[in-house]
């Protein structure tokens, strides 16, 4: 009796396994008659689930920054000077500042996650301005932290809107830019 070498037996076995695997994928070979070959789909996807990113989280944080900035600029100095009026004024102002600081940092984090995790090198082919847009948006987060600037808060929202449009163009979907406030 002739025995095949181990390597050849292994190759033969793998060939059978491959055919069995394909048979399981294509239960009705007759349906493929017009195609000269059997086509199977394989995944070449990313590490994390591709669909869990959304620029909405950056937009919400950005809106909070803009809202707090407006509130700080609109807050009037107490008409009656007293310990109590100063305490409530400073408490309100410092709460606005604290929220602005926190939300600006959160916004920057959300943007950086999109920039470094969601967007991939191939996206630069269709979005050559991608890096500069994110760089500017992150810098605007910093500006909104250190300043009380309505102009920079609006520019941050404009940058987030631009990122929203880039994100959904990559996803191949038309999602309108909607603000909560």
């Amino acid at each position: 009796m002739h025995f095949l070498p181990f390597e050849e037996r292994q190759a033969q076995r793998l060939s059978f396994e491959l055919q069995a695997h394909i048979d399981r994928l294509v239960p009705n070979p007759n349906a493929m008659e017009e195609i000269p070959y059997t086509l199977i789909e394989a995944s070449a996807h990313c590490d994390g689930p591709c669909g869990v990113y959304d620029p909405a989280s950056a937009r919400i944080a950005g809106e909070a920054v803009q809202s707090m900035t407006k509130k700080m600029l609109a807050l009037e100095y107490p008409q009656v000077f007293s310990s109590e009026s100063m305490a409530t004024y400073m408490n309100t102002m410092s709460r606005y500042a604290a929220i602005k600081e926190e939300e600006a940092q959160k916004c920057k984090h959300e943007l950086l996650v999109l920039w470094t995790d969601f967007f991939k090198p191939m996206h630069l082919e269709t979005l050559p301005e991608l890096h500069e847009t994110f760089w500017n948006a992150a810098k605007l987060c910093s500006a909104c932290k250190v300043e009380v600037s309505a102009q920079h808060a609006q520019e941050l929202m404009d940058a987030i809107e631009e990122i929203h449009n880039m994100f959904w163009s990559v996803k191949g979907r038309e999602v309108p830019w909607i603000r909560a406030s």
């Binding site: 292994q10 491959l18 789909e41």
Partner: protein, 97 residues
């Protein structure tokens, strides 16, 4: 065995093989696979999923698979699920063009 083609969905093999690339699938023959080969494998953690990756290294029958995409987040491969045994390879993928 009838001719079999594999079409990939996803960008883990970009820039060499973009989304939608088709390969001719061939069973392993003697002395295969080799480092650099593109292979079809059943995902070790999701048996219903077959994936296409490149062989980065082989050591004691254990194969380390990688995607071609340079982004560390772009490929679900041996960086995530570890090495696979060479017997888990379903076939070699040959680019059709």
């Amino acid at each position: 065995m009838s001719a079999v083609r594999v079409r990939i969905s996803g960008d883990s093999m970009w820039p060499t093989f973009p989304d939608g690339t088709e390969f001719e699938l061939r069973p392993l023959v003697l002395n295969q696979p080799s480092i650099g080969d593109i292979v079809l494998v059943k995902h070790p953690f999701h048996s219903e999923l077959q994936i296409v990756k490149r062989i980065h290294s082989i050591e004691n029958e254990m194969v380390f698979l990688v995607g071609d995409n340079p982004d560390p987040m772009a490929s679900d491969d041996s960086h995530n699920f570890g090495k696979i045994h060479r017997e888990q390879i379903l076939g070699i993928c040959i680019p059709t063009e």
